[in-house]
């Protein structure tokens, strides 16, 4: 099932509006909704945040489009607000971080499988192992700090296993850069995947950064610092996949196409009927925004928008467990060889990810199910 970007016009921008009550929808249920509902909400929020960042920079550099940017930005900001408020109040920052880690695994796994460019696929496969480890470390913190079972959030869809050890993936900045796709020859899927991956990494990075101070525990703060630094590495890496020769309007068009794709994918598989209605509505909103930008692009650059993105979107992202694929990568993926000086410097006083998760093995019901250490050793240095 796919969608034709050219023939589906969606809703015109002037009819895309909200009132304050509509911006605070009833959230999903942490207990009763499927884990992939959370994954969709977090991914879509990441896409909106990515668009907002881009549109902000675009406005700084292009006075000619500021009016159109302001109009689209306003609507996108309110979409983003609604998405943010779908997260329930009983979901703590650490629980949301676990949700982000799961989203980063399953969404990137889906994209890696569908990615036609082998070089890009390798980038996603490598990131998958880093994200798997991030989930493992966050889960260990949740279990050991609060005595809670992280699987109540993951719902057994995603393994809680050590991936590529976080302490070992700290790279010098130049090592995060990859060869970009060629805008003239890259498939639509490649362009969309790069944008989604970058958006997710940036949003996760910013979330960990902004919520780390909610912890009293300094070790939890350190872990969030370490994981957000890894996300910054990924954000740099994924952003470098996009062809830097793409014009501002080209990139804007791709962002809008990406959002259509995101909401369309979400609507295709959402199990919460109320939220599915929103995903369908926002697919129409994004189509309206896409056509506004398409018209602008074709008028200003005198080019066919089909040079940038194909009429028909790829198959939707698959919001499902990719356990077998991830385990296969875990077995087969070669180690990344990077310079050690930067890593040594960052780990100079120890690695919080190693300290927090030392010996952690996820057990149904939580680690407290395992035989307890003797109390006299708890806390003893």
């Amino acid at each position: 099932m796919t969608l034709d970007l050219w023939s589906e016009k969606g809703v015109p921008l002037e009819r895309q509006s909200f009132d304050w009550r509509e911006l605070v929808e009833a959230p999903y249920s942490k207990l009763d909704d499927d884990a992939f509902t959370r994954v969709r909400v977090l991914m879509l929020g990441a896409l909106e945040a990515g668009s907002a960042r881009f549109q902000g920079m675009c406005g700084c550099m292009n006075a000619a489009y500021q009016r159109e940017l302001a109009a689209v930005r306003r609507v996108e900001h309110h979409q983003r607000t609604l998405l943010a408020n779908l997260c329930p109040a009983d979901q703590s920052p650490l629980e949301t971080a676990i949700g982000f880690a799961q989203a980063s695994i399953e969404v990137i796994a889906s994209m890696a499988i569908a990615e036609p460019d082998v070089e890009l696929q390798n980038v996603y496969r490598s990131a998958l192992l880093e994200n798997l480890d991030q989930l493992y470390r966050s889960a260990a913190l949740y279990d050991r700090l609060e005595g809670k079972d992280p699987n109540t959030l993951i719902q057994s869809y995603t393994d809680i296993l050590q991936g590529r050890a976080s302490a070992g993936v700290h790279r010098a900045p130049h090592e995060d850069l990859h060869a970009p796709y060629d805008r003239a020859t890259a498939s639509p899927a490649s362009k969309l995947h790069a944008s989604i991956a970058a958006g997710l990494a940036e949003q996760k990075r910013d979330f960990l950064l902004s919520t780390s101070a909610t912890f009293g525990d300094p070790l939890a703060r350190q872990l969030f610092a370490e994981l957000s630094s890894i996300d910054e590495q990924q954000a740099i890496g994924f952003a470098s996949l996009a062809d830097p020769r793409e014009t501002w309007l080209e990139k804007w068009l791709l962002h809008e196409a990406c959002e259509v794709y995101g909401y369309f994918s979400a609507a295709s598989s959402e199990t919460n009927a109320r939220l599915r209605t929103w995903w369908e509505k926002f697919t129409d909103f994004e189509l309206g925004q896409f056509h506004l930008v398409k018209e602008l692009f074709e008028r200003v650059e005198n080019r066919d928008a089909a040079e940038v993105i194909a009429h028909v979107l790829p198959e939707p992202i698959r919001f499902e467990s990719h356990r077998s694929y991830v385990r296969q990568i875990l077995r087969d993926e070669p180690e990344n060889h990077t310079t050690s000086a930067y890593r040594r410097r960052m780990n100079e006083q120890g690695s919080p990810s190693e300290t927090i998760a030392a010996g952690y093995v996820w057990t149904p019901g939580g680690e407290l199910q395992r035989p307890r250490p003797r109390s006299e050793t708890v806390g003893r240095i």
Partner: protein
């Protein structure tokens, strides 16, 4: 031993006494807005009432894990117990005891870092409480499994208990807090725990689950002891005596009578009445 329990006088800037001039400047131009009339919060309250009225429940309890569980649910209902509430509260207690275990682990770390104070807890005393908390959650796991429940499932009350406890973890793991401040925070957990076990004792009685009830009563007694000890340490740490006594535990009620026995007793009473009437009629 540390003197971290002593609250020091310093540069606390949160009150207006240290910022008189700035405060007067703030008020100065707005003096005519100041009033001694009560604030009208009704608009906000009305809006919140509307949100509450249209909100969906937080979540549900998981279904029984097997057919035996369905039969168990039915028999609990017949006994006058609300099985979903019972399972919800069992899940809550389980989650709380696991959190309590981690809270006491954090308290041990605090004790190791700062030491105790005269009359305060020894490490061994904290370890003892920690082990009892751990034993309680193991017992609750078995209890839930015996009722064909899933001890790994998060019940609504367990979820809410987790929300309420977030502040407790923030205090216990903040390196800036003293042992006394952590004990005062753990007091909140112990008070909640005591009432929680009282609830389970009564619910298990309603359910006719005698063996569970007795186990819960032992846990309740353990928690009453924890509460008393924590209160005592806090009082000593604050330089006062504990005036309140731990609430007297209610006398142990008579063993619950099974439904079959109640029906048999009722029939026996009815037969005796009929026999008495017949005898009276013959006279």
């Amino acid at each position: 031993m540390s003197d971290d329990n002593e609250i020091k006088v310093g540069t606390n800037r949160t009150g207006i006494a240290l910022a008189r001039e700035r405060t007067e400047a703030m008020i100065g131009d707005t003096e005519d807005l100041l009033t001694d009339q009560p604030a009208d919060l009704s608009a906000g309250d009305k809006a919140r009432v509307e949100f509450c009225a249209s909100a969906e429940p937080l979540g549900s309890v998981a279904p029984p894990t097997c057919f035996k569980g369905l039969a168990k649910t039915s028999s609990l209902q017949s006994a006058g117990c609300r099985p979903r509430l019972f399972m919800d509260k069992l899940g809550e207690r389980l989650a709380f005891e696991k959190s309590g275990t981690r809270l006491y682990e954090a308290l041990l770390v605090k004790h190791d870092a700062l030491g105790s104070f005269p009359g305060g807890p020894t490490r061994e005393e904290l370890e003892e409480i920690l082990e009892e908390e751990a034993e309680h959650y193991r017992m609750l796991q078995s209890a839930i499994e015996s009722l064909a429940g899933d001890p790994t499932a998060l019940t609504p009350s367990a979820d809410l208990a987790g929300v309420a406890a977030r502040g407790l973890f923030a205090v216990l793991t903040d390196p800036r807090t003293s042992l006394l401040q952590c004990l005062e925070t753990i007091l909140v957990a112990e008070m909640t725990d005591n009432d929680g076990w009282e609830t389970l004792v009564e619910l298990s009685e309603l359910a006719g689950e005698r063996a569970l009830r007795e186990t819960f009563m032992q846990a309740r007694a353990d928690e009453a002891d924890h509460l008393q000890r924590v209160r005592g340490w806090i009082a000593v740490g604050q330089g006062r005596t504990v005036r309140r006594v731990v609430r007297e535990l209610p006398p142990m009620p008579a063993a619950p009578v099974s439904r079959t026995a109640r029906i048999a007793a009722s029939r026996a009473r009815s037969t005796r009445k009929k026999t008495t009437k017949k005898k009276a009629a013959r006279r």
